[in-house]
Symmetry: C2
Subunit: 172 residues, 2 copies
Protein backbone atom coordinates (compact mmCIF):
# COMPACT_ATOMS: atom_id res chain seq x y z
CA UNK A 1 0.00 0.00 0.00
CA UNK A 2 2.70 2.46 0.92
CA UNK A 3 4.57 1.07 -2.05
CA UNK A 4 1.53 1.69 -4.23
CA UNK A 5 1.31 5.27 -3.01
CA UNK A 6 5.02 5.89 -3.55
CA UNK A 7 5.00 4.38 -7.00
CA UNK A 8 1.91 6.37 -7.97
CA UNK A 9 3.47 9.62 -6.79
CA UNK A 10 6.67 8.83 -8.63
CA UNK A 11 5.29 7.67 -11.96
CA UNK A 12 1.51 8.08 -11.87
CA UNK A 13 -1.23 5.53 -11.36
CA UNK A 14 -0.83 4.22 -14.88
CA UNK A 15 2.56 2.86 -13.85
CA UNK A 16 1.07 1.07 -10.85
CA UNK A 17 0.45 -2.33 -12.36
CA UNK A 18 -0.17 -5.40 -10.27
CA UNK A 19 2.98 -6.97 -11.68
CA UNK A 20 5.25 -4.05 -10.79
CA UNK A 21 3.66 -3.76 -7.38
CA UNK A 22 4.16 -7.46 -6.72
CA UNK A 23 7.78 -7.22 -7.79
CA UNK A 24 8.44 -4.24 -5.52
CA UNK A 25 7.04 -5.94 -2.44
CA UNK A 26 8.88 -9.11 -3.46
CA UNK A 27 5.83 -11.31 -3.71
CA UNK A 28 4.10 -12.87 -6.63
CA UNK A 29 1.23 -11.15 -8.33
CA UNK A 30 -1.70 -13.28 -7.07
CA UNK A 31 -0.80 -12.52 -3.46
CA UNK A 32 -2.21 -9.04 -3.99
CA UNK A 33 -5.61 -10.55 -4.69
CA UNK A 34 -5.67 -12.37 -1.38
CA UNK A 35 -5.45 -9.03 0.42
CA UNK A 36 -7.37 -6.75 -1.95
CA UNK A 37 -10.36 -7.37 -4.16
CA UNK A 38 -8.49 -5.85 -7.09
CA UNK A 39 -6.52 -2.88 -8.24
CA UNK A 40 -9.40 -0.52 -7.55
CA UNK A 41 -9.48 -1.66 -3.95
CA UNK A 42 -5.80 -0.82 -3.57
CA UNK A 43 -6.42 2.67 -4.91
CA UNK A 44 -9.42 3.03 -2.63
CA UNK A 45 -7.37 2.28 0.49
CA UNK A 46 -4.69 4.77 -0.54
CA UNK A 47 -7.45 7.28 -1.22
CA UNK A 48 -9.11 6.78 2.14
CA UNK A 49 -5.84 7.43 3.93
CA UNK A 50 -5.53 10.51 1.77
CA UNK A 51 -8.85 11.82 3.04
CA UNK A 52 -7.71 11.31 6.60
CA UNK A 53 -4.55 13.28 5.89
CA UNK A 54 -6.53 16.02 4.15
CA UNK A 55 -8.91 16.33 7.10
CA UNK A 56 -5.97 16.61 9.42
CA UNK A 57 -4.31 19.33 7.37
CA UNK A 58 -7.54 21.30 7.07
CA UNK A 59 -8.00 21.17 10.82
CA UNK A 60 -4.45 22.34 11.41
CA UNK A 61 -4.87 25.19 8.95
CA UNK A 62 -8.03 26.34 10.70
CA UNK A 63 -6.27 26.27 14.05
CA UNK A 64 -3.16 28.06 12.85
CA UNK A 65 -4.88 30.86 10.96
CA UNK A 66 -8.12 31.62 12.77
CA UNK A 67 -8.38 35.19 11.50
CA UNK A 68 -8.72 34.05 7.89
CA UNK A 69 -10.08 30.51 7.96
CA UNK A 70 -11.34 30.39 4.38
CA UNK A 71 -7.97 31.35 2.95
CA UNK A 72 -6.29 28.94 5.33
CA UNK A 73 -8.53 26.09 4.24
CA UNK A 74 -8.16 26.89 0.56
CA UNK A 75 -4.39 27.07 0.83
CA UNK A 76 -4.23 23.83 2.78
CA UNK A 77 -6.49 22.09 0.28
CA UNK A 78 -4.45 23.18 -2.71
CA UNK A 79 -1.24 22.51 -0.87
CA UNK A 80 -2.29 18.95 -0.25
CA UNK A 81 -3.26 18.46 -3.88
CA UNK A 82 0.08 19.87 -4.99
CA UNK A 83 2.14 17.84 -2.58
CA UNK A 84 0.38 14.54 -3.27
CA UNK A 85 -1.01 14.75 -6.77
CA UNK A 86 -1.34 11.02 -7.27
CA UNK A 87 -3.10 10.47 -3.97
CA UNK A 88 -5.43 13.35 -4.82
CA UNK A 89 -6.03 11.78 -8.19
CA UNK A 90 -6.88 8.50 -6.51
CA UNK A 91 -9.24 10.23 -4.12
CA UNK A 92 -11.22 12.04 -6.78
CA UNK A 93 -10.65 10.46 -10.15
CA UNK A 94 -9.82 6.82 -9.64
CA UNK A 95 -11.58 5.58 -6.53
CA UNK A 96 -15.03 5.25 -7.98
CA UNK A 97 -16.32 2.97 -5.27
CA UNK A 98 -16.03 5.30 -2.28
CA UNK A 99 -19.41 6.40 -0.96
CA UNK A 100 -19.90 10.06 -0.11
CA UNK A 101 -22.31 12.43 1.52
CA UNK A 102 -24.12 9.63 3.32
CA UNK A 103 -23.99 8.60 6.97
CA UNK A 104 -22.31 5.32 6.06
CA UNK A 105 -19.46 6.97 4.19
CA UNK A 106 -16.01 6.18 5.61
CA UNK A 107 -15.17 8.35 8.58
CA UNK A 108 -12.16 10.15 7.03
CA UNK A 109 -14.35 11.34 4.18
CA UNK A 110 -17.00 12.73 6.51
CA UNK A 111 -14.35 14.38 8.67
CA UNK A 112 -12.70 16.10 5.75
CA UNK A 113 -16.00 17.52 4.59
CA UNK A 114 -16.98 18.53 8.12
CA UNK A 115 -13.83 20.62 8.34
CA UNK A 116 -14.85 22.57 5.27
CA UNK A 117 -18.38 23.05 6.58
CA UNK A 118 -17.15 24.43 9.88
CA UNK A 119 -14.78 26.74 8.09
CA UNK A 120 -17.39 28.39 5.87
CA UNK A 121 -20.23 28.39 8.38
CA UNK A 122 -19.64 31.99 9.58
CA UNK A 123 -19.88 33.24 6.02
CA UNK A 124 -22.96 31.33 4.95
CA UNK A 125 -25.58 34.00 5.63
CA UNK A 126 -28.92 32.65 4.48
CA UNK A 127 -27.30 29.72 2.71
CA UNK A 128 -27.03 26.28 4.27
CA UNK A 129 -23.38 25.98 5.39
CA UNK A 130 -23.22 22.50 3.94
CA UNK A 131 -24.24 23.84 0.55
CA UNK A 132 -21.67 26.61 0.70
CA UNK A 133 -19.03 24.10 1.75
CA UNK A 134 -19.89 21.94 -1.25
CA UNK A 135 -19.60 24.97 -3.51
CA UNK A 136 -16.21 25.91 -2.07
CA UNK A 137 -15.11 22.33 -2.43
CA UNK A 138 -16.25 22.32 -6.04
CA UNK A 139 -14.36 25.50 -6.79
CA UNK A 140 -11.17 24.22 -5.18
CA UNK A 141 -11.47 20.84 -6.84
CA UNK A 142 -12.08 22.43 -10.21
CA UNK A 143 -9.14 24.75 -9.68
CA UNK A 144 -6.89 21.82 -8.87
CA UNK A 145 -7.90 19.65 -11.79
CA UNK A 146 -7.98 22.40 -14.40
CA UNK A 147 -4.64 23.74 -13.22
CA UNK A 148 -3.12 20.29 -13.28
CA UNK A 149 -4.09 19.71 -16.91
CA UNK A 150 -2.66 23.09 -17.89
CA UNK A 151 -6.03 24.55 -18.75
CA UNK A 152 -5.82 27.79 -16.84
CA UNK A 153 -3.61 30.74 -17.65
CA UNK A 154 -0.15 30.48 -16.21
CA UNK A 155 1.11 32.68 -13.43
CA UNK A 156 -2.31 33.65 -12.12
CA UNK A 157 -2.67 30.99 -9.51
CA UNK A 158 -2.59 33.38 -6.57
CA UNK A 159 -5.08 35.70 -8.21
CA UNK A 160 -7.53 32.86 -8.72
CA UNK A 161 -7.16 31.73 -5.15
CA UNK A 162 -7.70 35.29 -3.93
CA UNK A 163 -10.78 35.58 -6.12
CA UNK A 164 -12.32 32.44 -4.64
CA UNK A 165 -11.60 33.54 -1.11
CA UNK A 166 -12.96 36.96 -1.92
CA UNK A 167 -16.20 35.52 -3.20
CA UNK A 168 -16.84 33.72 0.05
CA UNK A 169 -15.91 36.61 2.30
CA UNK A 170 -18.46 39.32 1.39
CA UNK A 171 -21.27 37.11 2.67
CA UNK A 172 -20.46 38.00 6.29
Amino acid sequence: MQTARDLAEAEGWAAVTTRRLAELIEFSQPVLYTHFAGKDAIIAVVAERGFAQLAEELARARAEWPEDPVRAAASAYIGFADASPAVYDGMFSRATGLRFATPDAPAPLREAFAELRITVAPYAGDTDPAILAEVLWSALHGLVTLTRDGRLSEGNHKARLAAIVGLIRPQI
Copy 2:
Protein backbone atom coordinates in the same frame (compact mmCIF):
# COMPACT_ATOMS: atom_id res chain seq x y z
CA MET B 1 -15.79 9.47 -34.78
CA GLN B 2 -19.51 9.83 -34.42
CA THR B 3 -19.51 6.12 -33.63
CA ALA B 4 -16.87 6.71 -30.98
CA ARG B 5 -18.94 9.46 -29.43
CA ASP B 6 -22.11 7.38 -29.46
CA LEU B 7 -20.40 4.35 -27.99
CA ALA B 8 -18.77 6.45 -25.29
CA GLU B 9 -22.08 8.01 -24.33
CA ALA B 10 -23.75 4.62 -24.26
CA GLU B 11 -21.15 2.62 -22.33
CA GLY B 12 -18.39 5.00 -21.30
CA TRP B 13 -14.94 5.55 -22.74
CA ALA B 14 -13.64 2.36 -21.18
CA ALA B 15 -15.87 0.45 -23.59
CA VAL B 16 -14.48 2.33 -26.57
CA THR B 17 -11.74 -0.06 -27.63
CA THR B 18 -10.14 0.08 -31.01
CA ARG B 19 -11.43 -3.40 -31.75
CA ARG B 20 -15.05 -2.60 -30.96
CA LEU B 21 -14.80 0.66 -32.83
CA ALA B 22 -13.39 -1.07 -35.88
CA GLU B 23 -16.14 -3.67 -35.77
CA LEU B 24 -18.85 -1.03 -35.54
CA ILE B 25 -17.60 0.91 -38.51
CA GLU B 26 -17.10 -2.40 -40.35
CA PHE B 27 -13.42 -1.99 -40.96
CA SER B 28 -10.45 -3.75 -39.51
CA GLN B 29 -8.67 -2.38 -36.49
CA PRO B 30 -5.49 -1.03 -38.15
CA VAL B 31 -7.52 1.23 -40.41
CA LEU B 32 -8.14 3.47 -37.41
CA TYR B 33 -4.42 4.13 -37.16
CA THR B 34 -4.21 5.40 -40.71
CA HIS B 35 -6.64 8.18 -39.82
CA PHE B 36 -5.75 8.86 -36.17
CA ALA B 37 -2.45 8.73 -34.35
CA GLY B 38 -4.02 6.57 -31.67
CA LYS B 39 -6.93 6.22 -29.33
CA ASP B 40 -6.09 9.48 -27.59
CA ALA B 41 -6.30 11.31 -30.88
CA ILE B 42 -9.81 9.94 -31.44
CA ILE B 43 -10.87 11.19 -28.03
CA ALA B 44 -9.23 14.54 -28.72
CA VAL B 45 -11.23 15.06 -31.89
CA VAL B 46 -14.48 14.18 -30.14
CA ALA B 47 -13.47 16.55 -27.34
CA GLU B 48 -12.68 19.40 -29.69
CA ARG B 49 -16.10 19.12 -31.29
CA GLY B 50 -17.50 19.10 -27.78
CA PHE B 51 -15.86 22.44 -27.06
CA ALA B 52 -17.37 23.88 -30.19
CA GLN B 53 -20.80 22.69 -29.12
CA LEU B 54 -20.29 24.04 -25.61
CA ALA B 55 -19.26 27.46 -26.93
CA GLU B 56 -22.36 27.51 -29.09
CA GLU B 57 -24.67 26.63 -26.23
CA LEU B 58 -23.07 29.22 -23.95
CA ALA B 59 -23.54 31.88 -26.60
CA ARG B 60 -27.17 30.91 -27.10
CA ALA B 61 -27.80 30.97 -23.35
CA ARG B 62 -26.32 34.46 -23.09
CA ALA B 63 -28.52 35.66 -25.94
CA GLU B 64 -31.70 34.10 -24.64
CA TRP B 65 -31.39 35.22 -21.03
CA PRO B 66 -29.63 38.59 -21.07
CA GLU B 67 -31.08 39.75 -17.74
CA ASP B 68 -29.32 36.97 -15.84
CA PRO B 69 -26.30 35.93 -17.90
CA VAL B 70 -24.37 34.19 -15.14
CA ARG B 71 -27.24 31.90 -14.28
CA ALA B 72 -27.85 31.29 -17.96
CA ALA B 73 -24.22 30.34 -18.55
CA ALA B 74 -24.06 28.13 -15.48
CA SER B 75 -27.25 26.32 -16.45
CA ALA B 76 -26.07 25.86 -20.00
CA TYR B 77 -22.70 24.56 -18.86
CA ILE B 78 -24.19 22.02 -16.48
CA GLY B 79 -26.86 21.13 -18.99
CA PHE B 80 -24.20 20.30 -21.54
CA ALA B 81 -22.27 18.18 -19.05
CA ASP B 82 -25.46 16.33 -18.11
CA ALA B 83 -26.58 15.75 -21.66
CA SER B 84 -23.19 14.56 -22.92
CA PRO B 85 -21.33 13.15 -19.96
CA ALA B 86 -18.90 11.08 -22.00
CA VAL B 87 -18.00 13.96 -24.30
CA TYR B 88 -17.51 16.16 -21.25
CA ASP B 89 -15.34 13.48 -19.75
CA GLY B 90 -13.28 13.36 -22.92
CA MET B 91 -12.93 17.12 -22.93
CA PHE B 92 -11.67 17.41 -19.38
CA SER B 93 -10.43 14.07 -18.16
CA ARG B 94 -9.23 12.09 -21.14
CA ALA B 95 -7.93 14.50 -23.75
CA THR B 96 -4.63 15.27 -22.12
CA GLY B 97 -3.02 16.60 -25.26
CA LEU B 98 -5.25 19.60 -25.91
CA ARG B 99 -3.48 22.89 -25.31
CA PHE B 100 -5.29 25.57 -23.34
CA ALA B 101 -5.05 29.17 -22.35
CA THR B 102 -2.52 29.93 -25.06
CA PRO B 103 -2.96 31.75 -28.35
CA ASP B 104 -2.28 28.55 -30.29
CA ALA B 105 -5.01 26.59 -28.55
CA PRO B 106 -7.67 25.22 -30.91
CA ALA B 107 -10.27 27.82 -31.78
CA PRO B 108 -13.27 26.06 -30.20
CA LEU B 109 -11.50 26.01 -26.86
CA ARG B 110 -10.71 29.71 -26.98
CA GLU B 111 -14.25 30.51 -28.05
CA ALA B 112 -15.81 28.56 -25.21
CA PHE B 113 -13.65 30.35 -22.67
CA ALA B 114 -14.27 33.71 -24.29
CA GLU B 115 -18.01 33.20 -23.81
CA LEU B 116 -17.49 32.73 -20.10
CA ARG B 117 -15.27 35.78 -19.87
CA ILE B 118 -17.81 38.00 -21.61
CA THR B 119 -20.53 36.68 -19.34
CA VAL B 120 -18.80 37.48 -16.07
CA ALA B 121 -17.14 40.73 -17.17
CA PRO B 122 -19.89 43.02 -15.80
CA TYR B 123 -19.53 41.45 -12.37
CA ALA B 124 -15.75 41.47 -12.14
CA GLY B 125 -15.29 44.72 -10.26
CA ASP B 126 -11.60 45.12 -9.53
CA THR B 127 -10.85 41.56 -10.59
CA ASP B 128 -9.56 40.68 -14.03
CA PRO B 129 -12.58 39.27 -15.89
CA ALA B 130 -10.44 36.42 -17.19
CA ILE B 131 -9.54 35.42 -13.64
CA LEU B 132 -13.16 35.52 -12.54
CA ALA B 133 -14.11 33.47 -15.57
CA GLU B 134 -11.53 30.87 -14.66
CA VAL B 135 -12.87 30.76 -11.13
CA LEU B 136 -16.45 30.32 -12.33
CA TRP B 137 -15.28 27.67 -14.72
CA SER B 138 -13.47 25.88 -11.88
CA ALA B 139 -16.56 25.97 -9.70
CA LEU B 140 -18.78 24.63 -12.45
CA HIS B 141 -16.29 21.98 -13.44
CA GLY B 142 -15.87 20.89 -9.83
CA LEU B 143 -19.62 20.80 -9.39
CA VAL B 144 -20.01 18.61 -12.45
CA THR B 145 -17.30 16.12 -11.57
CA LEU B 146 -18.12 15.84 -7.88
CA THR B 147 -21.81 15.46 -8.62
CA ARG B 148 -21.11 12.83 -11.22
CA ASP B 149 -19.16 10.66 -8.80
CA GLY B 150 -21.93 10.96 -6.22
CA ARG B 151 -19.80 12.99 -3.85
CA LEU B 152 -22.23 15.79 -3.11
CA SER B 153 -25.44 15.54 -1.13
CA GLU B 154 -28.40 14.45 -3.17
CA GLY B 155 -31.30 16.72 -4.00
CA ASN B 156 -29.40 19.96 -3.45
CA HIS B 157 -28.27 20.53 -6.97
CA LYS B 158 -30.36 23.65 -7.52
CA ALA B 159 -29.26 25.11 -4.20
CA ARG B 160 -25.60 24.68 -5.11
CA LEU B 161 -26.14 26.26 -8.48
CA ALA B 162 -27.97 29.18 -6.87
CA ALA B 163 -25.14 29.59 -4.38
CA ILE B 164 -22.53 29.81 -7.13
CA VAL B 165 -24.56 32.32 -9.11
CA GLY B 166 -25.18 34.28 -5.92
CA LEU B 167 -21.47 34.48 -5.20
CA ILE B 168 -20.76 36.08 -8.55
CA ARG B 169 -23.64 38.52 -8.51
CA PRO B 170 -22.90 40.73 -5.46
CA GLN B 171 -19.71 42.00 -7.11
CA ILE B 172 -21.69 44.45 -9.28
